[in-house]
């Protein structure tokens, strides 16, 4: 039924986490449909956590993503503690924020230096980039390494750390361990500031639009583990209440589940949304970096500017981590005692790629009976498609290779994590009933 349509495909997206491709349908020079197709095989995580204890869930959900395992552990552990009425020690609260800072550093440095910067500078990968700009890549790798080392210090290893438990930790670090790491964090702060300078030099393609932004908001700190869900349209609701305004949908013209708010319009999560909605809560050093950049408005309107937003969040995470390490006193007990309680456990935290919502039903036996996990990439998919629909007409006249490169670059600007998006289905529905 689309025989007169031009179908355009970008097969096998590269430098993203997971497997996906883009399908465009062009009718009379207009993009009638932009579809980000995900062929990442389903792994059924929401079924795999059924019948498990809360602590087992922390180990299992981290496996949704090798790049942001901490995010999954954080949304889950806060959900359970909220339901069970567990009050963790202040030191545990601080350590969890430190663990998240480490993941933000690792994840943002990976994306900026290894996945995204090669686009702006015209290289197929960081390896080729390093041939001409060795120091740049070496600095990026060092920054990523500091994030990974801090993850390993707190969690035993950088990928799928093991120490996060309901009530606290299996083992909390000694003060001397963290103090010894402070010099590395000061180095990370310098590298992060330099990253912002580099990101500002990378000229973004001219493309501006009015997005709709959603992030957590906390009155006293840049959002990570706690906050209310806010939007630039005035939304304000508790993190547990995501399902009151947002919902997942399956759309007949796409092969993936998506998420929308009550208006049915797409919305954007992640560094861009956080910088715009939460810049007043940035650490003074990150605020200074943002103010000096003068980039706030261009970050909001131009999706390619997310690389600057990530750079500023690197400053945020490094500066925040330094403060936490300096003030650290170990908790009295690694974990406080707790008992499971039946009911609904729900929470959202800010993963590197944006708001990550978890909801678990816990039965009388203390085991999970049902789960809903909504990763940021599922939620961002509609925003990515909306941007592609706006942007694609500009590149359709270009040679195929170049058009492909430009569209891929736009998708990469969102740092999509397709492995995370557990809900993506796996079927092309060409010819399905409209």
């Amino acid at each position: 039924m689309h025989t007169s349509d031009l179908r355009f495909q970008v097969q096998n997206l590269t430098r993203v986490e997971g497997e996906g491709s883009l399908h465009l349908t062009v009718r009379d020079g207009q993009v009638s449909e932009a579809r980000l197709q995900i062929f990442e095989a389903p792994r059924y995580f929401e079924a795999l956590v059924v019948g498990r204890t809360p602590n087992e869930v922390l180990d299992i959900v981290s496996r949704i993503c090798g790049i942001c395992p901490v995010a999954y552990q954080m949304s889950a552990v806060h959900a359970f503690e909220d339901l069970f009425g567990v009050e963790v020690e202040p030191a545990t609260r601080a350590l969890r924020r430190l663990l998240y800072c480490a993941e933000w550093i690792e994840s943002h440095a990976l994306h900026i230096y290894l996945l995204h910067a090669p686009d702006f500078l015209g290289y197929p990968s960081a390896v080729e980039l390093a041939r001409d700009h060795r120091q740049l890549v070496t600095d990026g790798l060092r920054l990523k390494q500091i994030g990974n080392q801090l993850l390993a210090l707190l969690g035993g290893r950088a990928i799928h750390p093991v120490s996060v438990r309901v009530g606290g930790w299996s083992r909390a670090p000694r003060r001397a361990q963290l103090t010894a790491f402070a010099p590395a964090l000061h180095e990370a702060l310098q590298l992060a500031r330099a990253t912002v300078d580099v990101a500002l030099q990378l000229t973004p393609p001219e493309f501006e639009r009015e997005p709709r932004l959603v992030a957590l908001h906390h009155p006293r700190e840049y959002p990570m583990n706690e906050g209310r869900i806010v939007s630039d349209a005035g939304l304000n609701l508790p993190a547990q209440a995501w399902t009151e305004v947002f919902h997942e949908i399956q759309v007949p013209w796409s092969n993936a589940l998506q998420a929308r708010d009550d208006s049915g319009l797409p919305y954007l999560l992640g560094p861009t949304a956080r910088i715009v909605l939460d810049h007043d809560q940035l650490h003074p050093l990150a605020k200074e970096a943002l103010d000096n950049s003068g980039a706030l408005e261009s970050i909001r309107r131009n999706p390619y500017r997310s690389i600057v937003a990530r750079g500023i969040e690197l400053v945020q995470a490094a500066a925040d981590a330094i403060d936490i390490v300096e003030a650290y006193r170990p908790p009295e007990a690694a974990a406080v005692a707790w008992r499971p309680r039946p009911g609904v456990a729900a929470w959202a935290t800010e993963a590197p790629r944006g708001l990550l919502f978890h909801r678990y039903e816990v039965g009388e036996d203390g085991l999970v009976a049902a789960a809903t996990i909504v990763p940021p990439t599922s939620q961002n998919q509609a925003a990515i498609e909306a941007d592609i629909a706006l942007f694609a007409p500009r590149v359709l006249g270009l040679p195929m290779d170049e058009a492909t490169r430009r569209l891929e670059q736009l998708i990469r600007a969102y740092d999509p994590c397709i492995s995370c998006a557990t809900h993506f289905l796996d079927l092309s529905i060409d010819g399905a009933p409209a």
């Binding site: 740049l136 790798l141 390494q145 990974n148 290893r157 300078d197």
Partner: protein
């Protein structure tokens, strides 16, 4: 302050000219964590690319290759019909095939579902399961093609990865440990969590390679690296059921073995007997199952004139 500086000449420029082994990194159903371990070799990464030519590594480079490969690292389990075809093609163009991680080596946590449970899993997670094109079982690479080396772990250990690459580059045998995590704990002087706290630990039956991370962090091992050869898993399970730290319900012990290597035959034997895999019948696993919605393609809505183009309606 680091700015984008002058192009530097690579010190290893000569080495680049040599014939480097062609290395591919591919993935099937997985979290990307094991291939990320390659990118996490921050100190060695650029040196490695002087010695090896990464001709296929979609997560890291836009240059693609469908082969041939001297070494192919394979992450993830085979979970769709397309993947089952692709792994056979890849094997045919590869000299040395190395599985990286629990998913590729034993199937991963997603391999906990049996063929009989597949339908229950699908309809528990997806409202329109007919749209999901997945195989009944998630299976390890070795059930489809011959595998030359296995790197275990969830995720793999970076030191083992370097050891494997070094051994291939120098033409010697890779030195990978085959003892139990228990032994590693003793070597490192870690307190035994079973003895001191009665906490169940799979260390006695799990192959080391991780560095005994979990006992080192004050908790029991959960078997990421899988059972070591000849491990007496039945005895350990019995110990946790009725031993000094017990008694425990069968299903509580079964769940210990229903982890990331729970699909290995040794651990599967325990869960077949004691339970611990997700219980059936399963009601919809998602507390809020998505609905099918007839909706227009997503747009941002009206845009300021002359700014973002006129592709929207």
């Amino acid at each position: 302050m680091t700015l984008i500086g002058q192009p530097a000449t690579t010190s290893g420029g000569r080495a680049v000219e040599r014939q480097r082994p062609r290395v591919g990194v591919v993935k099937f159903a997985s979290c990307d964590g094991c291939q990320l371990t390659i990118l996490d070799l921050e100190d060695e990464l650029l040196a490695l690319t002087d010695r090896f030519e990464f001709t296929e590594f979609a997560e890291a480079t836009s240059k693609r290759s469908s082969g041939p490969f001297d070494i192919l690292f394979v992450e993830g389990s085979i979970s769709t019909p397309e993947q089952a075809v692709e792994i056979v093609r890849l094997r045919a163009v590869t000299k040395t095939l190395v599985t990286i991680g629990a998913c590729a080596t034993v199937g991963g946590i997603q391999a906990l579902r049996t063929a009989a449970e597949h339908e229950a899993f699908r309809s528990a997670v997806y409202p329109s399961p007919a749209f999901v094109d997945s195989l009944a079982v998630a299976s390890p690479i070795a059930s489809h093609v011959p595998v030359d080396f296995e790197l275990r772990g969830c995720p793999i250990d970076a030191r083992q990865l370097v050891e494997l690459l070094t051994s291939v580059a120098t033409g010697r045998r890779a030195q990978l440990p085959d003892q139990a995590v228990c032994l590693e704990c003793k070597r490192r002087g870690y307190e035994c969590v079973v003895v001191t706290r009665g906490e169940p630990c799979l260390g006695p039956v799990t192959q080391t390679g991780c560095g005994a991370i979990c006992p080192g962090m004050g908790r029991g091992c959960y078997g990421c690296f899988g059972p070591r050869e000849g491990a007496n898993v039945d005895s350990l399970a019995g110990w946790y059921l009725d031993g000094p730290s017990g008694p425990r319900a069968q299903v509580d012990v079964g769940r210990l073995f229903a982890g990331f290597t729970g699909a290995s035959s040794d651990f599967r034997g325990i869960t077949d007997r004691l339970g611990g895999r997700p219980p059936l019948p399963m009601r919809p696993a998602m507390a809020h199952p998505p609905e099918l919605v007839e909706a227009a393609p997503p747009t941002w809505g009206p845009q300021p004139a002359g700014e973002a183009g006129d592709a929207h309606e």
